[in-house]
């Protein structure tokens, strides 16, 4: 296990390095000057700012300096938000995005597992078709459509929930969490349905039934354990996706998270902030995929045995 984890960690380093290098040069190659503004800037001011942000140096030197900073954990100063470091901006947005991702994940698991289990218990009946159709709808409906729709119904028509913000008004976290979690709930529903169907047809379930155990106990104790294996394997990429894919939801609901920061950075050609957020998201995605793989190996005795036996 340890060896497997170490090997996967080592494999992640060149991937991350490639992401950093590619992003660095692509951002600089893209047209658009980060210092430009609609009002003319006196040349001496422009020169002063270019020096401040090292834009007057050759790109390769900027790259070396950037890598040097990264090794010390410094993402550099933001070009747009004066006096703010990228570390500070990421720090401010991360907690919000992580919280949003967590709630969205809870929504996804709660709705997805319930719907999947209900569907699996009576396959090919209305209680299968209905949640599975809803799941298909959830997968197909983009969050930029679902978000405003939920806002319209629960925020404007019913006046039950706030339409934007994060942590400022009671209940303002619900709609964003549902919007972000909906698509993942749909995947979880389909995965748990498949998993449950497979498990419920196993011999040990039949034995449990023959022993006279109540059906709810069979489902909750014996069925879920095996049936949710595909869901567990999906959790890592799902959480990475939730964190890095939150920019639409954060923009729709005006949430002060990383996703919104990412969008603003791109519009403003805030080089350091684009780099910082990209590197950060890339790390998260790599990390969560790694965790998911490790978890899958750990849960699957056959795979575990294989890696423990040194056959990786």
């Amino acid at each position: 296990m340890l060896r497997f984890t170490l090997v996967r960690l080592l494999q992640a380093i060149p991937v991350l390095f490639a992401v950093i290098t590619l992003t660095f040069f692509l951002v600089r190659a893209a047209p658009g000057d980060p210092l430009s503004s609609d009002k003319a800037m006196p040349p001496e001011v422009y020169a002063e700012l270019s020096t401040l942000y090292e834009l007057d140096k050759p790109v390769w030197q900027q790259y070396i300096n950037y890598l040097g900073g990264l090794l010390q954990g410094e993402f550099g100063p933001s070009f747009k938000y004066l006096g703010r470091t990228v570390n500070e901006l990421i720090g401010a947005g991360l907690a919000t995005t992580a919280e949003l991702g967590l709630y969205a994940m809870l929504v996804a698991l709660l709705i997805g597992i319930c719907a999947g289990v209900v569907a699996a218990l009576r396959p090919n009946s209305a209680s299968d078709y209905l949640p599975m159709s809803a799941a298909m709808l959830g997968i197909c409906m983009p969050s930029f459509l679902l978000g405003p729709l939920l806002v319209l119904i629960f925020g404007i028509w019913l006046e039950w929930l706030p339409v934007s913000g994060w942590g400022n008004i009671p209940g303002d976290k619900i709609l964003p969490a549902i919007t972000l979690g909906a698509a993942y709930a749909a995947y979880v529903a389909r995965l748990s349905r498949g998993g449950m169907l497979e498990v419920l047809s196993q011999d040990y379930i039949r034995t449990a039934r023959a022993k006279g155990l109540p059906e709810w106990l069979i489902v909750l104790k014996h069925g879920l354990r095996g049936g949710l294996m595909p869901v567990v394997a999906f959790l890592g990429p799902a959480f990475a996706g939730l964190l890095s894919g939150s920019f639409v939801v954060e923009t729709v609901f005006q949430i002060p998270g990383m996703g919104r920061l990412y969008v603003q950075a791109a519009f403003n050609r805030d080089y350091t902030l684009i780099m910082g957020t990209t590197v950060f998201f890339a790390t998260l995605i790599i990390l969560f995929n790694l965790l998911s793989d490790v978890l899958a190996v750990w849960l699957n005795p056959k795979l575990r045995q294989q890696y423990q036996g040194g056959k990786s």
Partner: protein
């Protein structure tokens, strides 16, 4: 399959569990009851949609409208403006004397003026502030606002280094004298611009040099200001909050206890926030919503003339746009009435002058109009009958739906009236700025919002090599009128006459095609009182108040 009612199936149990859990979540979340507006009305806190997240709060560094709103609440200038007419009113200066040739202003400061830390605001504070704002190292993009002051130009250009030679003198603790190069009738108006706001020397020096950009003196806990409010919180991308400043010399006249500025880049969400009573005032209003509010809730719509012009720049360095007749033909072939009525639909006015009508009593005469026949004649005269000989023209605009719609309309008008093929080029904001600055365009959409209430704020753009000109056009007579003759005029009438002559040259030669004059478009909650429309669209927070009223919100269905 029939279910035994005494023993529900597992499927039914799980479904019931699922419904119960969802209901509990919704029920616990719902009925939050009090909205921002309710809470704000009760506590005297204004919820203000503020556009973008501010870049900084330093009034000598920022250039954006979002920042200027917050600064408006935090700082009080030497001279303030009337909330509606924008006529000069006492600010930190109680009164002022102007000498006979109108070049020396002596300001008498209010002895009760205080910084938010309780220390008095003195004449020396203003001298230091102006020194800092003009210091080349600070990189103040608005330093040109100081040009009317004697020797400010040479100081800003680095021709002189001794600030004592600049016409700013401290007479005593409460008297400041400013000497101008020329009588500048709009000088008092300039003083209320954020580039002239006083800044606290002790707080700035405690966190770096006078010219350190992005210094932490503007953070809560560090910031000292002298306005009606003081900074209490800055939650990045979430909100900025200010509270009433107890040291403000007119604190007893300030009705609000505080303001919460919310960044609202997404104007569609902002409008929804307004409908859900999360905001008292919006930064903007989506174009497609204006007519709805105009018809259904006109009392909530603030749609007034605004000192801004939307125009097209023409690159006069390239053929066929180097020919004034072609440029004029293009200008005459645009049906502006149709654009404001059918496309922008937000109360904008068709513009035939670059300076908006009635800018501080100035209305230029224009030879421009909608006249496709004359346009065709001019085009033929220029050697391009029925557009023959003009390959295609390209219109550049930055990414925004409204710019695209206007460009498409003008594309059709030029094709239909002049038989000129037009292609459209859409670029991201920063790329568009670069293309324009480098002159890599033929026709480019642009706009200018006046910094102060005077035609000069529009007319000094088009001088030779002006940083914001970007058309390649210049005219020595125009430069002479704007830079030399108008500033020395002995009366306002004479000055305006000279500026009108200059604007006539501009409109005859048409390096830019005015399209429409801006209009403000905000939504204002009925409980917010004291919001008065003004041409600069400046909010005067110290005049605002909130009434605890139960109001209806428009229940629009889309």
């Amino acid at each position: 399959m029939l279910c035994n009612p005494a023993k529900p199936s597992t499927g039914a149990n799980v479904t019931r569990l699922f419904i119960t859990v969802i209901s509990v979540i919704l029920l616990t979340a719902c009925g939050s009851g009090e909205t921002n507006v309710d809470r704000g009305n009760r506590a005297g806190i204004l919820y203000w949609g503020n556009g973008e997240e501010p870049q900084d709060l330093d009034p000598h560094i920022t250039t954006g409208v979002s920042e200027s709103y917050i600064q408006e609440s935090l700082f009080e200038p030497l001279v303030n403006s009337h909330p509606e007419t924008l006529e000069p009113e006492p600010g930190v200066a109680q009164r002022w004397d102007i000498n006979d040739d109108k070049t020396t202003y002596t300001f008498h400061l209010n002895p009760n003026a205080r910084w938010s830390n309780g220390e008095p605001v003195t004449a020396e504070d203003f001298r230091w502030t102006f020194w800092r704002a003009m210091h080349p190292k600070l990189g103040n993009q608005y330093n040109y606002m100081y040009y009317p002051i004697k020797n400010a130009g040479p100081y800003l250009r680095g021709d002189i280094n001794d600030f004592d030679k600049v016409g700013i003198k401290v007479i005593d603790k409460q008297t400041l004298q400013i000497q101008l190069e020329n009588p500048t009738p709009y000088f008092l108006g300039l003083l209320s611009h954020h580039s002239y706001y006083p800044v606290p020397r002790s707080a700035i020096e405690a966190h770096g040099n006078a010219w350190t950009r992005g210094s932490h003196w503007t953070r809560p806990g560090n910031m000292v200001s002298n306005g009606a409010f003081r900074l209490t919180q800055w939650k990045l991308f979430n909100y900025i909050e200010v509270e009433k400043n107890p040291y403000y010399h007119k604190a007893d006249q300030v009705a609000l206890n505080g303001i919460r500025f919310l960044p609202t880049e997404n104007i569609t969400t902002e409008e929804r926030m307004f409908r859900a009573n999360q905001l008292h005032h919006t930064y903007e209003l989506p174009a497609d919503k204006t007519s709805y509010y105009r018809e259904n809730a006109p009392e909530q719509l603030l749609n007034q003339p605004y000192l801004g012009t939307y125009y097209y720049r023409l690159n006069t360095r390239i053929k066929p746009l180097d020919n004034p007749k072609v440029r004029r033909a293009l200008a005459l072939a645009i049906n502006r009435q149709q654009i404001v009525e059918r496309i922008t639909k937000q109360g904008q006015l068709p513009a035939f002058t670059i300076t908006p009508p009635n800018t501080a009593g100035y209305t230029a005469e224009s030879s421009l109009r909608y006249d496709p026949e004359e346009a065709r004649r001019l085009l033929a005269e220029a050697g391009y009958p029925s557009g023959e000989g003009i390959d295609t023209l390209e219109v550049l605009y930055n990414t925004k739906e409204s710019h695209r719609k206007i460009a498409v309309a003008i594309q059709q008008m030029w094709k239909q009236e002049l038989n000129i093929n037009i292609t459209l080029r859409n670029e991201d904001w920063k790329v568009y700025l670069d293309s324009e600055k480098r002159g890599e365009y033929q026709v480019s959409r642009a706009s200018w919002i006046g910094d102060y209430l005077d035609p000069n704020t529009f007319l000094d753009l088009w001088i030779k090599d002006g940083g914001n000109n970007r058309t390649g056009w210049h005219n020595p007579e125009y430069d002479r009128l704007v830079l030399e003759q108008a500033p020395r005029a002995s009366s306002r009438e004479q000055r305006y006459a000279l500026l009108m002559q200059a604007e006539k040259i501009l409109l005859d030669e048409v390096p830019v095609i005015p399209i429409y004059t801006y209009a403000t478009r905000h939504l204002v909650h009925p409980s917010l009182k004291g919001v008065t429309p003004n041409l600069l669209d400046r909010p005067f927070f110290s005049h605002f108040s909130l009434e605890d009223t139960q109001t209806q919100r428009p229940n629009e269905s889309n």
